[in-house]
């Protein structure tokens, strides 16, 4: 606050400060804490170790994807293809590992490496195509990612005929997919590392700054000499790669490569970002909030599971929450005075 002028300081009362604190963190943490408290009181088994465990693990996949989705939203786009990328990653990594199972039976490390490379590679390819189409051909992100979603899903189905792919190395499934490390699923650590990296990127690197600037005011970024196209492509590429990482972890947990792995993941990733206050118009979004929002969604889903609410009704509920979150965001914006 060192740079504030004296007139500003004079007007800062304690209620102002409270309001400012609320402005920075938003209402999400409050809602989250309230939700947890209510669920702990009223939903049986909510605080059971196994349940917390499940919530943490399933949120990890979403956190990773939503972090990527957030970056694309910040540059003013969005990515409908992340769910399809998860499926494509799952299938391609599993097929490579299953295919090498016999020829490299003694070298599970190499098999895993090649499988992971195939998975990430397919994600990167989709991301680059998305980014290049948006940045250079100036196709709307909606159309590009709708198209690539269809393409990736089609390829995944074509490769497998819809049949799950088995035959991944045991160590991959047991140690990575279902393994624990200090009592917690490995995916939790993976998600934590990725969130930390994205946070550093957003706050301490040039790239993070440029991603905000591009979404905040594209023309200003261009005029300031930012290579906007490069960073647009990078945002889409990172988003798809993160979806791939999530897909790899999910595949390892399930134990087979599946082309129909992820019907809800795209919507959930956008939902988490929007609930976290990431602006659909670009320029705004923080990864720590997105992480909280992903937890929020998964806790809600988990509570509905525990209460034995029909999954079809849960889907409806998810849709309502997304629309509500955007509506609240818009309403808050309209109340803000301009200076």
């Amino acid at each position: 606050m060192g740079g504030r002028t004296t007139s500003d300081l004079a007007s800062t009362s304690s209620s102002d400060r409270l309001y400012r604190a609320y402005e920075t963190v938003g209402f999400l943490p409050i809602v989250l804490v309230t939700l947890v408290a209510i669920l702990a009181l009223f939903v049986p088994h909510f605080l059971a170790v196994q349940n917390i465990f499940n919530v943490l693990r399933s949120s990890s996949y979403l956190v990773i994807m939503a972090a990527g989705q957030m970056l694309v939203l910040i540059v003013g786009g969005f990515d409908l293809s992340v769910g399809a990328v998860v499926a494509l990653t799952s299938v391609s990594s599993a097929m490579v590992m299953a295919g090498l199972k016999d020829s490299l039976a003694d070298e599970p490390g190499i098999i895993v490496f090649l499988g992971v490379a195939a998975g990430i590679g397919s994600g990167l390819a989709v991301g680059l195509i998305n980014g290049l189409c948006v940045a250079f051909l100036r196709i709307s992100p909606f159309m590009v990612t709708l198209g690539s979603m269809s393409i990736a899903t089609g390829v995944a189905l074509l490769l497998t005929n819809g049949i799950p792919v088995y035959g991944m190395p045991k160590v991959y499934v047991d140690a990575f997919g279902r393994g624990l490390w200090m009592q917690l699923p490995t995916a939790v650590y993976l998600a934590a590392v990725i969130v930390a990296l994205v946070w550093v990127m957003q706050n301490f690197t040039r790239m993070g700054r440029y991603i905000f600037a591009i979404g905040g005011n594209l023309q200003a970024a261009i005029v300031s000499g930012v290579r906007t196209k490069t960073y647009l492509v990078l945002a889409y590429a990172i988003c798809s790669v993160l979806a791939s990482v999530s897909g790899l972890a999910l595949t390892a947990q399930i134990g087979s490569g599946q082309a129909v792995i992820s019907s809800q993941l795209t919507l959930e990733s956008i939902a988490a970002a929007v609930i976290a206050g990431v602006s659909l118009k670009g320029g705004v979004g923080r990864v720590e909030m997105v992480t909280l929002a992903a937890f929020f969604l998964l806790i809600l889903t988990d509570a509905m599971d525990l209460l034995k609410i029909d999954p079809r009704i849960q889907t409806i509920f998810l849709g309502i929450i997304v629309v509500l979150a955007v509506a609240v965001d818009e309403m808050a914006k309209r109340r803000t005075p301009v200076v």
Binding site: F204, T205, F212, G216, A220, G225, P337
Partner: protein, 534 residues
């Protein structure tokens, strides 16, 4: 003067390079530069040059091509024809990035700032200080503080640009240009929202830069400051270069005549004043975002009611709110004596009030659709245009053709897509919409922005013709000569409030300007003169 030392030192670095190149002659040389936009020739074979250590003023009306020219020099977009030489070398494929690299620093009027980033983040955007891929936050903070202090601007590096006033955003924009070594500085109406004291600081700085060999292109309408700092003046009109003169060789009146291409008296028609009853009354209007605060005014039949004020004073929001385009939090709006409780465009059209937006592309017209459809859009449910929900295309065509002929649309083809029309013709299509039905209150928001002098006169003549039929016209304009010469009664807005109502002989430049700059002493307002009106 010690406060200026740091700027000086960085400036001197640039200056040394500039001085080294001085022998080569001109800093910048443009010859035969043309630029075309769809439906518009923005620049037509313009020659322009800039010497080292010179302030060269670009003078012209809105839409004359000034901003196109400075955008080409800044690398925002390329010229379609003509040569671009910088320090004697031909430059091609200039981008904003390379332009900054070779020392061309633009300060735009349309701010190139990212609202969600802080002042400091905006200052360094595109040239952050980094080490090993990480931002050097403390180093950037130190440099930002230093340069803000040197410029003596009242800016906090932590503030988000979104939260700053226009004047402060302007300061950020200027500070940004000084962050690198400057050889050619472009200033586009830099004093438009600065106070007198801040403007004086800026002029001191310009003098220092000049002395060290930096060339400055300065766009302004304000006669006083042009007289004060200009070495040469180039006048542009409708995309053509009219002339380049030495600042000492030309009087204010001559400049205005060069700019408009005709005598002032000819530009603005004499409009009869025969005030009738109040057709529009606004009482204590306040908007939800407080861009308009407790404003009352009225408009009478047979009278042009002008509303003047600086950009961002709330005058545009005021008329938009009356038409239901802004959220009203309190106040009363009466049209024809009836209270409008929930203003929205359809109900106001029915009451005979129509608003003509200043941004014709964003809010006024469907560019891909023909003139006919755009013109009849607001009246389509009336019997002339549709019956039983079925369009009456024949009678629509006849009705629109009649209106379009009256407005002198050129060419008078009503099936042409609006996108293919020039700014002046687009404005006529918009006006045609107001003539398709019975309108008694016309709200014009910057009606002549971006249109040429000829079309302007036609718009003024149309207002005159409309007024003779007994309607009320509210004219909101940032062009002082326009509101002053056309209005019978002139309101002045300042910082969201109505601060003055002027009648007859009180509508003169010093009087209006004294209300523009309320918190300042009268002589400050005097010195911030705006172009024209002898």
């Amino acid at each position: 003067m010690t406060e200026m030392t740091t700027v000086k030192s960085s400036v001197i670095g640039a200056a040394r390079a500039a001085l080294a190149a001085r022998d080569d002659g001109l800093l910048l040389e443009l010859s035969g530069v043309s630029k075309y936009f769809p439906g518009v020739v923005a620049l037509d074979g313009v020659d322009f040059d800039l010497r080292h250590g010179e302030v060269h003023v670009l003078f012209g009306e809105n839409g004359a091509g000034k901003s196109t020219l400075i955008n080409i020099i800044a690398g925002t977009y390329p010229q379609d024809a003509g040569d671009f030489k910088f320090q004697g070398e031909v430059v091609t494929h200039l981008t904003p990035h390379t332009a900054r690299m070779i020392g061309i620093s633009p300060v735009f009027q349309e701010f190139s700032l990212v609202p969600e980033l802080t002042v400091e983040q905006n200052l360094f955007l595109g040239r952050e200080l980094t080490r090993g891929g990480f931002l050097r936050l403390p180093a950037m903070r130190a440099r930002a503080m230093e340069i803000i202090r040197d410029l003596a601007f009242d800016l906090g590096p932590d503030r988000k640009v979104r939260d700053l006033s226009r004047a402060h955003q302007q300061m950020v924009e200027i500070t940004k240009a000084f962050l690198t070594d400057v050889r050619l500085l472009i200033l586009d109406e830099p004093t438009a929202s600065l106070t007198e004291a801040e403007a004086t600081k800026l002029f001191d700085l310009i003098a220092k830069l000049k002395a060290s060999g930096v060339g400055i292109i300065y766009v302004s309408h304000r006669m006083r400051e042009i007289k004060q700092i200009a070495d040469r003046i180039t006048v542009l009109r409708d995309g053509h270069k009219i002339t380049t003169v030495r600042a000492g060789d030309v009087s204010e009146n001559e400049l205005v005549e060069l700019m408009t291409g005709r005598k002032i008296g000819v530009l603005f028609p004499q409009i009869d004043h025969s005030p009738g009853k109040n057709l529009l009354e606004v009482e204590n209007l306040t908007l939800a975002n407080h861009s308009v605060n407790d404003v009352s005014f009225y408009a009478r039949a047979g009278e042009i009611t002008g509303i003047a004020g600086l950009v961002g004073c709330g005058k545009s929001e005021l008329v938009r709110a009356i038409y239901g385009l802004e959220v009203v939090s309190s106040g009363t709006i009466r049209v024809n004596g009836e209270v409008v409780t929930h203003p929205f465009p359809a109900s106001l059209l029915k009451r005979g009030l129509c608003y003509f937006p200043s941004d014709r592309v964003a809010e006024g017209l469907a560019l891909a659709r023909p003139v006919r459809e755009n013109a009849s859009m607001a009246a389509i449910y009336q019997p002339t245009y549709s019956r039983w929900r079925v369009l009456q295309r024949g009678s629509e065509r006849r009705a629109i053709q009649t209106i379009v002929d009256k407005l002198k649309l050129r060419p008078p083809h009503i099936e042409r897509a609006v996108a293919k029309l020039s700014g002046g013709n687009r404005q006529k299509v918009l006006l045609a919409r107001g003539l398709t039905r019975d309108i008694t209150v016309f709200l014009f928001d910057e009606p002549t922005v971006g249109i040429d002098v000829g079309a302007k006169i036609e718009v003024y003549e149309l207002m005159k013709a409309l007024l003779a039929t007994g309607v009320a016209i509210v004219l909101v304009s940032s062009e002082l000569p326009e509101v002053m010469n056309l209005s019978h009664r002139l309101y002045v807005m300042h910082r969201s409030r109505m601060v003055a109502e002027l009648n007859g002989a009180d509508i003169n430049e010093p009087e209006v300007l004294s209300h523009f700059f309320r918190e300042q002493s009268p002589d400050m307002a005097e010195s911030s003169r705006i172009a024209s009106v002898p």
